[in-house]
């Protein structure tokens, strides 16, 4: 069996599709720490824009929304994301047309589940992201989503905030969407030096107070709360921790 190891980029993925297409049972992944069987051979894929474009063009002709599906899937933290996308593309090529509505076919089911987890988290984060006001009046939201969604969530806040300056910072992937009040763009951001406004604590405390007072104590149901709002997200929610306290 041959494993095509990519650099994790979209171009790398499409290059791997190009290189491996004629191989039987080839696997594409960007995971470096895989358990390998004896007979596996690793092929390191060098991202190649030309090869990638050729695959894209072919795919676009068969289904012009397929590349959008692949783009969403490749943002996932699922270790099988490349392989699932690969199977999906192979099915489109084999069928000669879009397959997304064939909801009983395993390759389609798996693809739509990966995509569903990405868009699901995107929707949740529209609610769970928390901004802090900085001394200069900009809004800053650090978070650590499971999937790579920062450039997808930025337009939502751009539409809401109008001329307000803001940053959405994925601290896990060390990247951020930055908006100067007119346009927004993505940038690599490691550790950010943020000076939080002196008023921040007042509003965080009021919010915590509100959170406590709207709870109906007679009806505890923690399990449901955690189902909707997984514990791994709590680190960034003022109502669930004192995380920002030590900074001010």
């Amino acid at each position: 069996m041959k494993i095509f190891l990519t650099d994790g980029t979209t171009t790398g993925f499409y290059t791997a599709v190009f290189d491996s297409y004629r191989e039987n049972g080839a696997v594409i992944t960007s995971r470096k720490n895989m358990q390998l069987a004896f007979d596996t051979e690793i092929v390191n894929v060098a991202a190649d824009a030309e090869k990638a474009t050729r695959v894209r063009n072919k795919l676009d002709k068969l289904d012009r929304y397929a590349a959008g599906d692949v783009d969403l899937a490749l943002r996932s933290d699922d270790s099988l994301k490349e392989q699932t996308s690969f199977e999906y593309i192979k099915l489109i090529v084999k069928s000669g047309r879009a397959v997304r509505r064939q909801l009983s076919v395993p390759a389609v089911i798996e693809m739509s589940e990966i995509i569903g987890r990405v868009t699901g988290e995107l929707h949740k984060m529209k609610g769970f992201l928390r901004f802090m006001e900085t001394e200069s009046g900009a809004l800053y939201a650090p978070y650590a989503p499971d999937n790579d969604i920062t450039d997808l969530i930025a337009p939502h806040f751009k539409a809401r905030f109008g001329q307000q300056r803001f940053a959405v910072h994925d601290v896990k992937r060390k990247k951020a969407a930055l908006c100067d009040g007119k346009t927004w763009f993505m940038a690599e951001v490691g550790d950010a030096d943020i000076y939080i406004s002196e008023y921040e604590k007042i509003f965080e405390d009021l919010w915590r107070k509100y959170y406590v007072s709207v709870n109906i104590g007679e009806r505890p149901h923690e399990k449901q709360m955690k189902g909707y709002m997984p514990v791994r997200y709590w680190k960034f929610l003022p109502e669930k921790n004192g995380f920002y306290d030590d900074k001010t």
Partner: protein, 420 residues
Amino acid sequence: MLDADTLSILTESAKYDVSCSSSGSKRANGKGGLGNASVGGICHSFTPDGRCISLLKILMSNECVYDCAYCPNRLSSNVKRASITPDEICNLTINFYKRNYIEGLFLSSAVSGSPNRTMELLTETAIKLRKQYNFNGYIHIKGIPHADEALALKAARYADRMSYNIELPSERSLKLLAPQKTKDSLVSPMKRLRAAILCDRENAARRGALLPAGQTTQMIIGASPESDGQILRLTEYLYRHMGLKRVYYSSYIPVVRSPLLPSVPAGLLREHRLYQADWLIRFYGFDVNELCGEGENLDTDLDPKCAWALKNMHLFPVEINSAPPEMLLRVPGIGAKGAYKITEARRFCRLDFDNLSKMHIVLKRAKHFITCKGKFYGAEGNAARAALLIAGRSDSGECNQQLSLFSDRENAVSALTGEL
């Protein structure tokens, strides 16, 4: 700036208002403005009772001149009183919104001074938020009974949603428990707003500007003797004739001691069954008469769709590969999403039982009511009934008070909406 105690007092009692949803509006942000509304609604947090926080729910004041028996803020009650100003509310809303704590504001009030004065203050706050603070997020305003209808119409121009709470499921109970509120003081402004919304929707230039997310209402379940059948008939009337977007049920909790009121809580299972029936009426084409007789209550052991299906076994099993979508929706265990997946998938190939389980269609209940390529995998008649009761029991656990009812994923979604 608003202090923490005032905030506690004014939000504590607003929490029993269950309509937290921020959905149904798609207001866009304007130039230099802050906020917009998202059609699907967004939950910003969840409290330890498992409920979603979407809006800042707050009372303008809890000083009340009325004396509703069930209400902790009634005139004769001995609670701490507080009020805040429109500017304080605007400020808090804007600052919470900027931090992405909330989708917007749900503003209500006790009847403080007079109904007109109270309604004026609520309206003033909405206008300030929109005009002075340039806020385009979600605003829900509670209608104050007996206030001038012109004031309600004015508020409707700035709010996304308004609600007059029916409070109790019959006029008799209303008279007994909320003597100053009359049926007319609640229903007549609802009708006025309904007429205004219809007129607004027809006017091409202004389309959708008035209460884009419509009207809702709420009633307390279990504080008075009405049956589920009566409640659901009222519900159906409110949807079909008053054009309401949602009817909310709030299971009675004894916060106040009164000889007129039961001393035990009504339990969440009943509320949950009502939401399920409500869902069937709104989205699955069920008629209230199919679900529950006038003086009857819903089955507690079975969800209303299961109960209906068992009474109508002559209609089942249906063939998954050919049943019309509206019939698929009537199969216990198959919801809107499942029916959609099936109708899409079967255009390409005939589905068998294995296909369905791979598609994550939940078959625990459904298998007793369907065939796949002519094959039946369920139990028949009484055996099916027994199997469903057992399936139902594992969901409801100790039921009533402690809801392990909502513990699995399937039921968790249903817990918020009653979706079946």
